[in-house]
Symmetry: C2
Subunit: 302 residues, 2 copies
Amino acid sequence: MSPVAPAALSLHQALAEVGAEIDRRFDALLAVPDDARARLYQAMRHAAIGGGKRLRPLLVFAVADMFRVNRDCTAAVATAIECIHVYSLIHDDLPAMDDDDTRRGKPTVHKAFDEATAILAGDSLHALAFEILGEATAHADPLVRAELVVELARASGAAGMAGGQMMDLVAETTRFDLATVTRLQALKTGALIAFSVEAGAILGHAGPEARTSLRGYARDIGLAFQIADDILDVEGDEETVGKKLGKDGDAGKETFLSLLGLYRAREQARMLVEQSIAHLHAFGPEADLLREIARFVLERDR
Amino acid sequence: MSPVAPAALSLHQALAEVGAEIDRRFDALLAVPDDARARLYQAMRHAAIGGGKRLRPLLVFAVADMFRVNRDCTAAVATAIECIHVYSLIHDDLPAMDDDDTRRGKPTVHKAFDEATAILAGDSLHALAFEILGEATAHADPLVRAELVVELARASGAAGMAGGQMMDLVAETTRFDLATVTRLQALKTGALIAFSVEAGAILGHAGPEARTSLRGYARDIGLAFQIADDILDVEGDEETVGKKLGKDGDAGKETFLSLLGLYRAREQARMLVEQSIAHLHAFGPEADLLREIARFVLERDR
């Protein structure tokens, strides 16, 4: 990984570079110990290495690079956020939750290993996120570190991802309206996407105006991402997406698609992407990668 | 709660005061929201409020009070540690793990609610620990905060509690020797007890000699605590202990009791408690509460 941000990195290059960097870091962090915990580390590696779009780490890099943050520090914070994302996937896939057999084209952790190991692998990645974050920012500005720790914890807990997943379980038996589905998704996927952008801004000591713009950007792409996900769940190719599709409809859950219909859902997502790019108007070409990511959120096929 | 440490607090008073303080904080932290997440918060309250010995928070207070740490900050750090403890109990009780129906004299979370809610309640308390820790120490010395976050994450993850629980699951099918059982328990229960003592020392800016003494104390009471637990599992009263007993023997797991026999296990625990108190020789009466806690670890009936 280059210590300084390249002048103009295409989305394709950036995705590949960030993906390789995250894999390299997980490989080093998750060296398998020669004791009875070996299975736990193998399960963590199975879930964490070699898969996923690494969208959240890419967002951290894209924002932090705008402010010329030290890339080693950026990479550590990006890895911490990906730990939280991977842990949430492992737990959401459990039989008691969404009961999924496939994820990122591989068997889910409880299928490849067992349920107890999957629960512990998720818990361990959850803890690892804060270990990495605490270490990475040990010599950062004290308020920067406190803010990162508190905000990541909020994005992960009952006021964020875990709260959103709880609402998602309730959605199987309760008919949610559009406002409630929007709130659900703002917690379940929006909170960590928003934090990925926010983390880059915090590390970069971005001023209040830049932070407001970036927050608007993050909120809009988070929602667009989820609408695109709902569309992929109906229209996507299972092999490309790498997991079982059509589950929300089968479970009778309301989604953006069921509430808006395909045409309006697509329009809404397109509008959100345009709006997210509009939030970046005060930035120059240094925000081009963010603009490309916004378009990618809509056009991706997995 | 008194803002300054009382001169001489008996163990009985200290347990009651710390228990009330932790309950009061959880009650405020876990206000039930008026939305689909209500069930999640109710589950967190069920597990966190009104139960347990609060041994770990008591250890934080006992050490921090020796160094006259601000008690509000101490209470927050103690609550963060108890969050981690409670989360680990919820997950360890799950059907895929130890499959327990009763905890602290009440139904376990997955029995009172359901498995998905129990997984999410544990995850949410895990995140809450770091949110509290980050907030409580936002204005503390930067290295103090970084150390607290990193050490708590280590105590919770694959190199601590979660790793110990993994070894414990392996113990059902593999015959462990005394060294391996000691290592297992050092991770599973020892790491968080050690961190409780360490946190008080970190907050108190204890010097290297004091920290070495306190580490020795924590290691010894942690091990004594576990041996006492193994003895209680065989000799205790289910109603008093508040959970099902005799499970390790039924599962064919090696414990300190099965490896040492009752007589030697008792002797070993007694020796460890004496040794833990000996580590405190350089401290005066300000460490009397720690000495009382060491004796309590051995004599408790729950």
